[in-house]
Chain length 403, copies 3
Amino acid sequence: PAAHAANWIAIQGTEPADAKPVKLFGFIQGTYEQSFGDPVTGLTSSNLAPHNGHQAIFNTFGGDESTSTFNIRRARLGVRGALEDTKINYFLMAEFGNNAITRVDSVALTDASVTFNYLPGARLRAGRFKMPTMDEALEGNPFAADFINFSAIAAQLVQENRVQAGATPAENAFIGGNSAFRDVGVQVFDWFRQGQMEYTYALAVSNGTPSIGTDDNDDKDVTGRLQASYVFQGPLYGAHRQELSAFVWRGEGKRDYQSDSYRRLRQGVGIHYNRAPWRVRGEYVHAAGMIDAGINPAFQGGTPNVAPTGKAKGWYVQTSYTLTPNWELNLRYDTLNRQYDNAAQERVFKTWTVGGQYLFNPKARLMVNYEFRDLEAPQGNADARRIADAMADRMLAQAVVTF
Amino acid sequence: PAAHAANWIAIQGTEPADAKPVKLFGFIQGTYEQSFGDPVTGLTSSNLAPHNGHQAIFNTFGGDESTSTFNIRRARLGVRGALEDTKINYFLMAEFGNNAITRVDSVALTDASVTFNYLPGARLRAGRFKMPTMDEALEGNPFAADFINFSAIAAQLVQENRVQAGATPAENAFIGGNSAFRDVGVQVFDWFRQGQMEYTYALAVSNGTPSIGTDDNDDKDVTGRLQASYVFQGPLYGAHRQELSAFVWRGEGKRDYQSDSYRRLRQGVGIHYNRAPWRVRGEYVHAAGMIDAGINPAFQGGTPNVAPTGKAKGWYVQTSYTLTPNWELNLRYDTLNRQYDNAAQERVFKTWTVGGQYLFNPKARLMVNYEFRDLEAPQGNADARRIADAMADRMLAQAVVTF
Amino acid sequence: PAAHAANWIAIQGTEPADAKPVKLFGFIQGTYEQSFGDPVTGLTSSNLAPHNGHQAIFNTFGGDESTSTFNIRRARLGVRGALEDTKINYFLMAEFGNNAITRVDSVALTDASVTFNYLPGARLRAGRFKMPTMDEALEGNPFAADFINFSAIAAQLVQENRVQAGATPAENAFIGGNSAFRDVGVQVFDWFRQGQMEYTYALAVSNGTPSIGTDDNDDKDVTGRLQASYVFQGPLYGAHRQELSAFVWRGEGKRDYQSDSYRRLRQGVGIHYNRAPWRVRGEYVHAAGMIDAGINPAFQGGTPNVAPTGKAKGWYVQTSYTLTPNWELNLRYDTLNRQYDNAAQERVFKTWTVGGQYLFNPKARLMVNYEFRDLEAPQGNADARRIADAMADRMLAQAVVTF
């Protein structure tokens, strides 16, 4: 892609010295997706047997078990800029595309923040913005993401999907949209250079409510990240900085669910190495509390479940190779062990993603991904293992234009 | 209006050579509408008799049978542009006004597409955009439409309103917003000049889901259009091209409804002639399957109905005369024979629309329309005929500004 | 703030001579709010006793009785401009933040209007825009408002929150979002200078439907305002006009509620004086019909109530003092006597607000407000008085950036 291995905390929270007061920007991601699953058979429990002959939900894209779809994965419009002296900058963006952010409302604000760059060593950002967590969350997706789908740890552990508990699990429902890695609050952050080394910190206090909205309890989330980079080459706001970086992050808060309040902890470490023509990145994430426990039953019409005291962990490693200025090859392995503390509910996701990208120019590219997907319920019952076995491979193609 | 009789496939799917990378644009249509109906009387069937003394829904604009209303008919904001060499262009637009598109969500994406102009004779457009159907659908409404309301064939046959079947018809409900003639998919298209002749083709494969969203089945829609124009005068992207054009189009797909899947076919032919000071256009549309069967009962509180295997056909002819650079006169006759295959349900719509427009400048105009409306249920029962008889004339005034 | 005491009717409805055809603008208000309430105790009636030990709703910000929250109070994006000769101008704006406007839909159009400046003494504005009511409603909030929250008379009497009556009051629900002082219709207006004096009038006819949408009845609202200003200094479109102004306004319409139609009357008078370093403003509002009667029971989970024939009145006085070009101090007293015509339901709100603002530059400021709040139910029963007694003080901080 056109950007990678940048200091995302700096790039997204501030503006370069030559920033304009008002810059309109945005991007479009038009996607085609196809899965290759077969209907599930052999289910024997009374509540699952009616689903024999149907596709599992993770192989489908819509109500009647479609296994192929065109989609406007993302369509975003934003304005960002800096006031006169770049001491103050702002960032406003909304999602008009079709994804988990716009699950409930067809258009949703993603970002609305103001940064005050007055205090030495302590820039202050207020509003809604990406919390300082994993690299995969922080990178500018349209510019920098090498894969069309997020890794399982990013999608299932770090993104948040709030669920309203019903009288029975079948009445559970999502509350609003996906967090998109964002929250409403304040963040103090800055970075420091020492020769080729660059040290960055960010500490945020936030509502802990994934959708836009006021806080529903008085326990605020606290999220922090530390990052050290050895910069081989390239300026701070450059799109092609070459570097070796390591980082660690941790976010903790409380969530009300049913009639109780539960701790939600997410933490991780990672490293990335970017020196042309290679890029390599790996991240590990550990999660405790408020674990997305999937759609149950795992067929169209199922409802979302939460393991309020569950645990999960996972990691990914990805590498990209620049063949020519226009062609890149991408390979990722990612795995997630969900509810490893609960034998019956434990699920292990393992995905190899092979991809290629054609860069028309710095603002447009075409991506193709093939995902070899595997899901296991190592200690689940026979039905659980049959459903897990059904997880099929998936092919995606995506056109991306940024403006 | 400021534009007419253009090559809309080309104008909307590509950008001229001098296009900027980011162009903000949009328009506002502020409307006043008044209908002149009398309450329905004489209904005798047990389910309709309670509606005696009430206005039929097609004479009203809101909950308490209002017969007059101000409205923000359309308020759209978009960004379009071309990357460096115009080999790639994009188009993003959202609706913020109040119409059938925003029936469920108050703001909705209408367009998000990217066009790749690399292959000779085969430009590729991907995303959400207008399907290649009738001229009335393709023309840029704020710039080019001569009438405030769509013809019946455009509104009822070509636009799509997806309905969720309830346990009883009274529980039917719309799913999302009106398609606005658009769908999510890919289109290959191009045009070719030979002397004064211009030939254009477009072939699209798309989800067949009117709202933004993933496909709900694996049957994709296929829609194509062929067009031949004799251009008297004016460049491709010109606003005032003079031409004689003929075109034919056809779109087919499947829709899930109740527990089955039904074919939805729409096809049409048309011709337009534009040579100052006259413009004349006529179109014929035939439809089979998934016919909008109106609101039933046809009073406030009724629910939408679908004839999944029904048929319909209709046409319109319109003419416009430019009196002075500021004044235009407009006349249209349009008719729709809905469910002509079902005696009891057949409805025939006939409307004469007389209009005048004042063009303040190329970007602002004031339109006034008077619609002489007639609805017949030729083989319907007495109650159906009484309700149909109630269809009243309507007056509309609209201020339009584009930017 | 950066602007105050301007001719808002002129500034918002027209454009200056040097206006561009398309100007992108907007603002972000990121807020932190904290209330200092104690749970209510001592309730004795059978329906209220279960709420003992809970915070009253006016001390909370979310579902689980949060008493502190970060929030994106407002995040708006708009486009405004004038066509070639400024004879026609337009204004389009949408709300992406989290407040009562976006209660139902997460994004909502606030303004979409076109002004025709052709007739001498009678400019015509059509679309959705602020009705000509009180100064606090008309002033551009991000530029000009000296306080973070509206006064009680603005929030409860002049803003409109439409309520759908349920079968029982517990099933009442809001219909769409808050009016944000706006409506859809047409307005004739203009202003006239005579030496230092300036006279302004505005007369609007509108739907009387707070959300975007068509009118639900045929009774249109009529709203008018007269204003006389003695301008010490500063041009019409200036941000820092110094003046002494007095104004009177009145708006009346009908609203359908339950099975009847009720008159909704709002009227007021006001005066403001602006001469550096002082600004003083006072307004009085009287209301009859369709009075917001609060959330009942006044705890999380309560539903909105309306007094369809109720009456209310109130006023505020506020003053601001410019200490330095960067610092301002603000003080306001505001009071509302709600349902003064109904002994049991009468509620008296009294709030002192002390505030300070730091202006980084004309486009960015930081505001801090402390509200000493008092609520009385002078003739209410013991439970009503206990709940009223619970109203606690509140602290707010807000970062504002306009662009």
